[in-house]
C-alpha cells in the first residue's frame, strides 16, 4: 500500500505552470503595466509613463490606499470586511491637524494619540464582531458613520489647514517631512511608509505564529478554536491592526494635503477592497497574501495614471476601470487548481 501512496504523492512536483501561477496575483499588474507603456503618450521620444517621476507619482498616489489595503487584507483573511477605513482615515487626518495646529501638540504625542484612536476604534469593531457576533459588514458600516460623525464634530465640519512653523497654531516642521521626498527628491516619504508597512506585513505573515492563527480563523473557525487558537483575540487584534493602519494612512493623507478634512477618504474602503480582491485574496477568508494586495493596489494606481495621462474623459474612465477590475478578477480564476 505504501508504494501506491508514495506514487500518489510524488507525482505532485510543482510543474512550471503551477510555479508560474503561484505569482498569479501579479499577472494583472503586468498586463496593465504593459498596456500602460503601449498606450502611454510620448513626448520627444520619451515614454512619459515610465519616467522616474511619473512612476514615483503613481506609487505616491496609491500609498494611502495601499496602507489601508494591507490592513484590509488581514481583515479579509479572517473572513471579515472593514467598511470603516475611509472614515477612520478622515478621523485621523482631522485628529492630526487639530492636535498639532489647534491644540499645539508636538509631533510625537499627536501621532501616537491618532494611531491609538485608530487602534481602539478598530478594536471596538473587533469586539462587536467577535464577542457579540454581529457580521463585520454591518458593524463597520455603522463604524463608518460613527467615525465620520466624530471627525465632523472634532473638526467643526471644516477642513483644518496645517501651517508649519514654531509659532502657536502651527504644526511642527518635523511633521512636514513626512510629505517630502527623499533619494534625490525622487522617492516620496509616503511611498517609503507604504513599502515599510507592506514588507513588515509580508514578513509578519511569513514568520509569525499569529499569521497561522489568522489564516486558520478565516479558513475554518471551528477548527481554529478546537486547536486552541484564541479566535476572539485574533479577530480583535486584526480589526485593531486595520484601524491602526487606516489611521496611519490618515496621517499620511493630512501631511500630503496640508490639511485634515472630515470628508477625507470617502469611498477609499471600496478601492482598498478592490485592491485586495484583485490581488487574489478570497472574500471568503483563509486564502490570500499581502504581496497580492500590493500588486492589486499598484494595478489600480497604474490604471488611474494611464487614464489620466491620456486625458480620457472621466465617464469613459469609469467604464474602463469597471471592465479592468472585472478582467483582473477573472484572471484570478485561471488557477490550474481552483
Amino acid at each position: 500500500m505504501t508504494d501506491v501512496q508514495d506514487k500518489v504523492v510524488t507525482t505532485e512536483k510543482p510543474s512550471v505552470v503551477a510555479t508560474l501561477f503561484r505569482f498569479q496575483s501579479v499577472f494583472g499588474l503586468i498586463a496593465v503595466f504593459v498596456a500602460a507603456i503601449i498606450f502611454s503618450p510620448r513626448k520627444n521620444g520619451e515614454i512619459l509613463f515610465v519616467s522616474a517621476d511619473n512612476l514615483a507619482n503613481v506609487v505616491r498616489a496609491v500609498s494611502e490606499i495601499g496602507i489601508i489595503a494591507v490592513g484590509m487584507t488581514f481583515v479579509i483573511l479572517i473572513g471579515g470586511i472593514d467598511l470603516s477605513v475611509g472614515a477612520v482615515l478622515g478621523l485621523a487626518a482631522v485628529g492630526s491637524a487639530v492636535l498639532m495646529v489647534e491644540n499645539d501638540w508636538g509631533f510625537l504625542p499627536s501621532v501616537v494619540l491618532v494611531l491609538a484612536i485608530g487602534l481602539v476604534f478598530g478594536a471596538l469593531q473587533g469586539v462587536a464582531t467577535a464577542m457579540i457576533g454581529i457580521q463585520s459588514f454591518i458593524v463597520t458600516l455603522a463604524g463608518l458613520q460613527i467615525a465620520r460623525g466624530l471627525a465632523r464634530i472634532w473638526s467643526g465640519g471644516q477642513g483644518v489647514a496645517i501651517a508649519y512653523g514654531d509659532g502657536p497654531k502651527e504644526a511642527p516642521t518635523s511633521f512636514a517631512l513626512l510629505g517630502e521626498r527623499t533619494f534625490g527628491g525622487l522617492v516620496p516619504i509616503p511611498v517609503i511608509i507604504f513599502a515599510v508597512v507592506a514588507i513588515a506585513a509580508v514578513v509578519f505573515l511569513r514568520v509569525s505564529a499569529f499569521s497561522r492563527h489568522l489564516y486558520a480563523v478565516g479558513g475554518n473557525e471551528k477548527a481554529a478554536r478546537l486547536s486552541g487558537v484564541p479566535v476572539v483575540r485574533v479577530k480583535i487584534a486584526v480589526f485593531a491592526i486595520c484601524g491602526l493602519l487606516a489611521s496611519l494612512a490618515g496621517i499620511v493623507h493630512a501631511v500630503q494635503l496640508n490639511q485634515g478634512s472630515p470628508n477625507d477618504g470617502i469611498g477609499y474602503e471600496l478601492d482598498a477592497i478592490a485592491a485586495v480582491v484583485i490581488g487574489g485574496t478570497s472574500l471568503a477568508g483563509g486564502r490570500g497574501s499581502v504581496a497580492g494586495t500590493v500588486a492589486g493596489a499598484l494595478l489600480l494606481g497604474v490604471l488611474n495614471n494611464i487614464l489620466a495621462l491620456n486625458n480620457i474623459d472621466s465617464n469613459i474612465q469609469l467604464l474602463i476601470k469597471g471592465l479592468v477590475i472585472v478582467a483582473a478578477a477573472a484572471l484570478q480564476r485561471l488557477r490550474p487548481t481552483s
Binding site: M1, V4, D6, R212, H213, A223, S227, G286, P336
Partner: protein
C-alpha cells in the same frame, strides 16, 4: 498513591441542547493503558460526552476528575494542557494551511527569536505521518487532500499532542482496512506506553479487535459496559440498539434483469489535473437492473471519481470510452441531465455536499423533484408535504416535524434524507458513495433493507464503500478498482473480504488479519 486513581473519572455528566437531552447522568471511567470503546446509535450522545471531556463543550452538569484532581475546562486549550487530545468526528482542518501548519496549529514550534520554525515543523510532521503510516508531503495544503488523507492528518495531529488521554471519534470512517490496520498498530503502541484511549466507531468488527472495554450509550444514558472480546458482534449490536437485529444484511434475491449501465474503457483526462485526484483510467463494468454492484478499492483508488464522472460532475477534460444507459450511449453533462435520464447520486460527504443543514427536512427532501409538485413553477404545498411524508415513512425516518432543521437529525437519519431525495426523482440507476459513513448499525440495516427492496423493484445500484463487510454482505457483485482501473470482479456468492482486499492492493496473497463479522 497515584496508582489508585483512574486516569479519567466523569461523574453524573448531563448536557441539554434545547429540548434534547444529549447526556443524562453519565458516569464514565477510563484507566491508563486502556482502550475504551464508546458505542451507541447515532445521536446517543457519544460525541457530546467526549466534547465535554475535551473542553469543547463547557456548559454541563456533573464533574470530571483527571488522576483524581477535579477539573473544569474553559476551552480546548485547557484540556490539551491537562493532557487530553481529541480527534473530532468532523474533519476540522484548515484547508488553506499546509499539513504541517495544521498539525501544529495553536502550538506552533518557535525559533529562538519567537518566529515560526517552519523547517522543524515540517520535519516533525513528516515523522508523525510516517508513524501513522502515511507518506504525505507536509507542505501540501490540506484542502487538496482527499477525505481519507485528511482523516490521517487529524490522527497525526492528535498523536503529536503526546496526550495522556486520546479521544478518537470515528477516526476510521473514511479509511480502508489497510489504513485501519496501521492505526490499530499505533493505538496498541500508545496503550502500551500508558495512554488512555477512548475509541468511538460504528464499525463493529473494529471494536473486538482493538478495545479492552466497551460502554454503550443509549439516548444519553449508559446502558451497559462489557468486555467486547467476550461478546459476539450480534450481542454487542443488541446491547446498542436495545433489541436483537436479526439480519444485518438482507442479501437480495438476485433476480437481475436487463443490462442497465455499461461502461466501456472509460478514461478521463482532466484539463487541469489536480494533484491527488485519480480520474478513471480505463474502467469497464456493467450494472443490470435489480443488481447491486459494489466498488471496492483502497484510499484513492478512484471510486469517488468514477461515480462523479458518471453523474457528470467531474472536472472538465477529455473523456474517452463509452457509457451506455439501457443500451444507448450517453454523455454525462451534469446533475440535471443525469437526473432527467434516471441517474441518482448520493455523495460521500452528506454534510458538505448533500444537505443544507439549517434548512428543513421537507426542503431538503423535495429539492430534486420540485417540478412534480405543482404547475407553472408554483408549488402545491400539500403535494410536496405528501411526497415528503411518504418518503419519510418508507425510509422509517425518525423525526419530529417536517419543518425541523435537518441538521438536528442524527447522522443516519440525515443520510436517509439524502437518499429519499434521490428516490423521489424515481431513478433507474442509483450511484452511492460511502452511503453508510458514520451511520450506526441499526440505521445501516435499514439502509441495506431498503436497497434490497429497491433492487427487487428493478433499480440498479452502483455502491462504493470502504467497508468490506458491507460490500460482501450487500452486493451481488463487487468490482475492484486500483489506480483508476478496474482490476477484478467478484461475485459475492463465492468470494470473501480477503480476496477483495488482495485484489485492491494488487497482491495475490490474502491478508488474514482482516477479520470478518
Amino acid at each position: 498513591m497515584a496508582e489508585s486513581f483512574d486516569l479519567v473519572r466523569m461523574v453524573g455528566i448531563g448536557k441539554r441542547y434545547g429540548g434534547v437531552q444529549a447526556c443524562h447522568e453519565v458516569d464514565f471511567v477510563l484507566g491508563a493503558g486502556e482502550v475504551h470503546a464508546l458505542l451507541g446509535e447515532n445521536g446517543a450522545g457519544k460525541s457530546t460526552l467526549m466534547k465535554i471531556l475535551s473542553g469543547d463543550v463547557t456548559e454541563y452538569a456533573g464533574s470530571i476528575a483527571i488522576n483524581g484532581t477535579p477539573v473544569r475546562f474553559s476551552g480546548p486549550t485547557d484540556a490539551q494542557a491537562a493532557g487530553i487530545a481529541m480527534i473530532h468526528q468532523e474533519l476540522d482542518l484548515v484547508p488553506g494551511l499546509s499539513v504541517a501548519d495544521n498539525i501544529f496549529l495553536g502550538r506552533e514550534l518557535r525559533t529562538t527569536v519567537r518566529t515560526v520554525d517552519r523547517r522543524r515543523m515540517e520535519r516533525e510532521a513528516r515523522e508523525l505521518l510516517d508513524r501513522s503510516g502515511v507518506s504525505l508531503d507536509p507542505r501540501r495544503p490540506v484542502g487538496e487532500l482527499r477525505v481519507g488523507e485528511q482523516q490521517l492528518v487529524t490522527i497525526a495531529k492528535a498523536i503529536s499532542l503526546d496526550a495522556r488521554v486520546l479521544i478518537m471519534d470515528e477516526p476510521t470512517s473514511a479509511l480502508t482496512s489497510s489504513e485501519v490496520e496501521r492505526l490499530f498498530d499505533v493505538i496498541r503502541e500508545l496503550r502500551n506506553s500508558g495512554v488512555g484511549i477512548v475509541y468511538i466507531s460504528h464499525r463493529m468488527e473494529e471494536i473486538a479487535k482493538v478495545a479492552d472495554r466497551a460502554t454503550v450509550l443509549r439516548n444519553g444514558k449508559i446502558v451497559t459496559s462489557f468486555d467486547p472480546r467476550k461478546l459476539s458482534t450480534a450481542e454487542v449490536v443488541e446491547a446498542m440498539v436495545g433489541r436483537p437485529v436479526q439480519t444485518m444484511f438482507t442479501t437480495p434475491d438476485s433476480d437481475t434483469g436487463d443490462e442497465l449501465l455499461r461502461v466501456e474503457n472509460l478514461k478521463l483526462k482532466a484539463r487541469r489535473p489536480r494533484p491527488g485526484r485519480r480520474d478513471p483510467d480505463g474502467i469497464s463494468l456493467t450494472v443490470r437492473s435489480g443488481e447491486i454492484v459494489g466498488l471496492a478499492g483502497l484510499l484513492g483508488a478512484g471510486r469517488t471519481e468514477l461515480l462523479e464522472t458518471l453523474y457528470g460532475v467531474a472536472p472538465g477534460g477529455t473523456r474517452t470510452g463509452r457509457i451506455l444507459l439501457q443500451g444507448k450511449p450517453i454523455q454525462p453533462r451534469g446533475p440535471r441531465q443525469a437526473l432527467a435520464q434516471g441517474i441518482g447520486f448520493v455523495p460521500e460527504d452528506r454534510r458538505a455536499s448533500g444537505l443544507v443543514l439549517f434548512h428543513s427536512i421537507l426542503a431538503n427532501t423535495v429539492v430534486s423533484s420540485l417540478p412534480s409538485y405543482g404547475r407553472l413553477g408554483v408549488i402545491a404545498r400539500r403535494m410536496e408535504r405528501a411526497a415528503s411524508t411518504r418518503m419519510a415513512d418508507r425510509l422509517r425516518l425518525k423525526f419530529g416535524r417536517l419543518q425541523d432543521e435537518v441538521g438536528t437529525l442524527s447522522g443516519g437519519n440525515q443520510q436517509k434524507v439524502v437518499f429519499g431525495r434521490m428516490l423521489l426523482t424515481e431513478p433507474k440507476l442509483l450511484l452511492l458513495d460511502e452511503p453508510t459513513r458514520g451511520v450506526d448499525v441499526g440505521a445501516k440495516a435499514e439502509i441495506y433493507r431498503l436497497l434490497g427492496e429497491l433492487a427487487a423493484q428493478g433499480l440498479g445500484v452502483l455502491l462504493a464503500s470502504s467497508e468490506l463487510p458491507e460490500l460482501v454482505g450487500v452486493c451481488d457483485r463487487v468490482v475492484v478498482l486500483r489506480d483508476g482501473r478496474d482490476v477484478a470482479s467478484f461475485s459475492t456468492a463465492d468470494s470473501g473480504e480477503g480476496e477483495l482486499l488482495a485484489a485492491a492492493m494488487g497482491q495475490g496473497a490474502v491478508f488474514d488479519e482482516v477479520g470478518g463479522v
